[in-house]
Symmetry: D3
Subunit: 294 residues, 6 copies
């Protein structure tokens, strides 16, 4: 996947150099992006209509897959994650009820608007700035269709930036973020890539999209990670003091209204043979659904 992506960029840059009319390329890219967003919009619209026709809901989480893996610094399998997570959610070995008893098969509890066609867009030579815009716009399209709320399936952690940006812009101001991770992903830039999965929270904080950022579970943090944390006023809770901080955290945390969520960095190519990690990802999605749906 990553190879395709790099290749896409590579030969299109060569095309430009070879005097391919820029206008031809840009027009084509725009048409492909427009068609991609139209597909998301129509799916969100149909799903919204169905939910409402069934009696409606106050909030209905809606899956949106973002199969993007090329901004990882390591293995790039997260691009393969969305269909595997869906398979694990509906897999016969578990039932379709959340721990609190909500029935996932009820479209008012959970719906699905499919995947952003990331690979198709990148392979046309679209650059990362515009790709990030497409992701933000896709999240926005879901939120436009009341009562759908985005439950995004990554992809790597780089997608959190456009997801959070879209949510913040839609809601009209900075939002509160809970970030569960072993790493703070707040490098200014990683391996020369400002959209790296290790830099997403730097972009979010710079953009003013977060009123408050809680990072819980940190196990591996460098000096830069701590300094960036201080610079942006991030509340970083490390795993080694977790038993001390637990009470504090349980008093904030998931008490508010969860308007959007993403589950990222699941790499099916590093999973066990029987897909244990896919089951964990699906469990997260189920319980986030329980939390978000109303």
């Amino acid at each position: 996947m990553s190879t395709i992506a790099r290749r896409g960029i590579h030969y299109l840059q060569k095309l430009n150099a070879a005097n391919i009319p820029t206008a031809l390329l840009e027009k084509g890219q725009n048409r492909v992006i427009d068609a991609s967003l139209t597909l998301i919009r129509e799916r969100a619209k149909l799903k919204g209509e169905l939910v409402r026709a069934l009696g409606g809901a106050k909030a209905c989480p809606s899956l949106l897959g973002v199969p993007l893996g090329h901004n990882s610094s390591f293995l790039q399998g997260p691009a393969f994650a969305p269909p595997r997570i869906r398979e694990a959610i509906w897999c016969g070995s578990t039932n379709s009820t959340t721990e609190e008893g909500k029935e996932l098969r009820d479209p008012r509890v959970l719906t699905d608007v499919g995947d952003v066609p990331v690979q198709e867009i990148r392979d046309c030579g679209v650059d990362d700035d515009r790709l990030m815009n497409v992701i933000s716009e896709s999240v926005n399209l879901v939120m436009e269709e009341d009562p759908l709320r985005p439950l995004v399936l990554g992809g790597d952690h780089s997608i959190s930036f456009p997801v959070v940006r879209a949510v913040s812009e839609k809601l009209g101001g900075p939002i509160d973020l809970l970030h569960l991770d072993a790493h703070p992903d707040i490098y200014h830039c990683f391996e020369g890539n400002k959209y790296s999965h290790a830099s997403s929270f730097a972009r979010i904080m710079e953009g003013g999209y977060a009123r408050r950022l809680l990072q819980v579970g940190i196990r591996s943090i460098t000096t830069e990670g701590r300094e960036q944390g201080k610079r942006f006023g991030v509340e970083q809770y490390e795993m080694r003091t977790f038993s001390r901080d637990r009470g504090l955290l349980e008093n904030m945390g998931l008490k508010g209204d969860v308007v959007a969520a993403d589950v990222v960095e699941f790499n099916p190519q590093r999973d066990t043979v029987d897909g244990m990690t896919a089951m964990v990802a699906a469990k997260l999605v189920r319980e986030l659904t329980a939390k978000m749906s109303k």
Copy 2:
């Protein structure tokens, strides 16, 4: 994936029963299908423009993924195949040259129009008849964009029916087919499913889409398989007489102009840990590219 598909059908049937206005559902499905085909069309158009801008080609194979697995009777992993095959084609452990020396990175030799959004369409409750039409129409959209020629990545064998139908209709008459398989896939119907992966060639022959059908490599054939073969005038070459038939087969076979191809039934969930079968599928795609591109 299959579970999702079945669920889609299931709750939509319940929706109908619950007096959801049929018109609402059908309109939404039509809009989703239209948006899906528009995405394929725009991608094919851009890729065609690029090939022509680079000097053109007489024939340029173009990958089209059809991630459809729900018509398999066994495991349904073929829906996961297209991205894995692409990954194996471009993977760093092989080079990008065919055995005869063609350079796959040259867009005039191989291009890619992405995947038909099968899961997204089915999840809206679209039935199999219309899904098969979407696949045929997608293949047609590739062929409309001269000099692109479809090199379809399945999915299970059920997709061969809509692929062959589209090619035959576009060319204006029955075509010659070479089918390499251990099974003839020519049951009239399998487990009650006329679009089963075990019935695709029955549909092709009934539809009059094939002038001649050669099935090579058959190892496992039932009485019905043989009778259907006779009924439709299929030329069935079994593996146990392969050494006798080899000379005969080498004199026909791939001597003609290959206008389209599909590689189907690769199931990543049954692959070895290091993806040996993905590499075989990618090798087939490479050498089919060598044969088809001009």
Copy 3:
């Protein structure tokens, strides 16, 4: 295994339809069942004699394998479990002592009466009612041979019904049950199968075989699961309140005399390559042995 089972039923039903004398079939089935039970009886008898000849014990857990997987709704590998668990119990990478220091190699601490020949019985067309009776009778044969006590190796969860029934009937009244599971397995019927692994506790409660049923560890329970729980007076402890309930549970729980136990639903085909789950199942058997043996 499941395929064999289904096939067995399938062709014998056809045989009946084809006017195969029912008497012939039933007589043969009875002879096979009798021979199977005789084998269990003789093995239990020899093991009982050995334990007594070695000085006896008050209670000696005795392994009894029930390789039954066809009542699972998902994957059916639990039929392969008993030999894998035995292998893991005696495997060289652990020693043969329980945590409290009992020596498993002493036949007074643990003995083994082998497997019920489930596949052989089913393949003769024996139906599920009679198969369940064979399992109950096998458990009974172990208990007949004082001081042996059944430590049953499943198989899927459907076997808990005939196991509990046999113990209750042998002891002359309802017994107290501790059930550790993420699911309550108390559906009235699952996918049309009253002996499903998801219905075993409905059968147990209906039959009046349990005085008290504690279900601990529930993570995934549907509305029907809760309603059936109430209907039968089941004490259901969910995982999400486990830290609260822990103290309470430690005060009852395994304080009584454990007269029988089963370890079920281990599926070797979903295990890790190095058999981590088999080791967990073996650990459970070891420590149950420590608890049961006297």
Copy 4:
């Protein structure tokens, strides 16, 4: 499995030393062996009756599993093979027809008498001499039930000795043997074990059970292997001269009437994750069935 076996022997020897009455032990062992053989007999009888009631056959191969792994010098997984091979034979990913078109689901073409309860017998302290007799007697019981013919599923190669002995004794004289293997398995004794899987053909030749022994496919043969071959007049065809010998071998080989067969040394614990070797073993069983059934 092997550990269980060794343990069984170990503690029973200690029991003897501890003045456990030998008569008690021997009587119990005899009762277990009798019950085991009765189970085989009853199953063979019922299967024979069914075949005859369905119109009969001239020869009907009948599966007999011998899950014996403790005579292997290397890994002992072959004891787990019989259920895996059955699963692969009936597995949904292939159909149930042989290459020549025989339908395996027809009980006149293939039937099954289940497994010899090897582990249960050994765990009672029965020694190898008597275990080998039990296997021979089991094979004999199948042949007693006309028209059943034994198609034995090992287990390791040590079982070929009792299988061939039974067939030869039943037919009243030495038989012709075709042995496909990379090793000749003809050591006089291997690691001190005369029943080793590397010594089975030494036992067969010494016993006078073979009129002619063809060993085809030899790739790894020691000086002792060649000398034993000469001593017993074995016809050894090595892989490195296979292309030269092929014509010769095709003129004898499987031309005769195949009265019995075994498929041995399949080790599920060394199989690929998706059971490729199990599929090969099942394929052998299918085509042997085609050859043997009449």
Copy 5:
């Protein structure tokens, strides 16, 4: 690996019997051992010089691999562990910072003197007594080069004996030992091998190398294990009383100055496909580095 080792011993014993001059063999072995130790010495010396040239440190942990697996009673893969642990330490999917923020890429924090060439030495017929001396001498060579401190990568647990002996002798008296393990490894002798991985702490205690031995985490202990524990005054804390003992243990334990450590018994051949256990071993090494470096 183990096979090689056993073979080495085997044919050299035969060589002696065949009147190979003992002097020739011993001289050669001595030269090989001398060259091996020279290689360790030169590497330690260079690494010490670099650390000092960079400004020095009070204590700098230095990896020393001891790829020894032949003293395990079970599988012998620990001989393959050192390169896998190194790979996991530096692997791109984690960063190179410890939880407390020390940078592992700084040579003053962590350095590496490579592996003792165990296989090369054993294959020359060197016996276990002398091999254990080579290991002790290698550990000593690291400690000679101030400020390097040995962080040894096993290998199986048998190497703890020569490691502890070297540290104790270097420091001039018995040391305090913390041993985290499920087994006490304190058999007088195991399967006839006094250097077995199950006997290392018997050797350590007999030699008077430990002032105090805390064994924490014991889950599987035999009567001999407890008796040896008493005999040597070992403080054994079992897992089943861990919650009770935790407070006590946190008050001693790792409060002192850690002068040396080993991480043993990691067997790559039993790891999951994605190397989860290697990552755990690497995590231990990272945090031990944090603790040891000053």
Copy 6:
């Protein structure tokens, strides 16, 4: 492994910049290299003495491991290969005889001088030019010890250059080379690395070390590959014309005296779970031993 290597280079370059005395570093590196070569020399010497003491041989292949993986462009696992190949050679599941009957356990047929300590040398900051010299010198040390002949276990294909160079220089002129591979590995330079595994034969031909180079089995060759082939007069036989060329090749090929060999590019991290590729590598080593030993 590769990460270690890169790290080594990285921090040593930084050390130089930080005014670490170059003399200090170079002296240390020289001492480490000298000690490494001394270890190889002593092992070769001892093995040569043993062979001669046992009666000698005309030619005795001697294993020499070169665990070098950092010059691969793809995955770098070949550095882990030498111990796995040794394990597979001596593994209990095969016997120790070649197809022609030579006994590998006889030290006059096969001996082993162990591994070049590649990782230890690189981690001291030694550059690739000097590392290649160390490998050549190690091969030379084996050949110095008559009758030992090098049978090198890679490592990736980059090691063929220093191996061939050493053999040619020892023999006093260009040698004939048979190269079995799917790729020609004759790029002038690959990804900026002149010692890449894809460039080894360019280095060999430039150096004048080969009189004749036959490349057999080529399946994937680029335009540069063909042009370099022509430039250096390489005889390239492609797989697609193999059936035509076979007769020709069988008449030259391995008819001469094989003075040295290497087996490279085996990557244990891409092997099947049961090590099928390791077994293939070991089989090659066995039969090369049969061919080389005299």
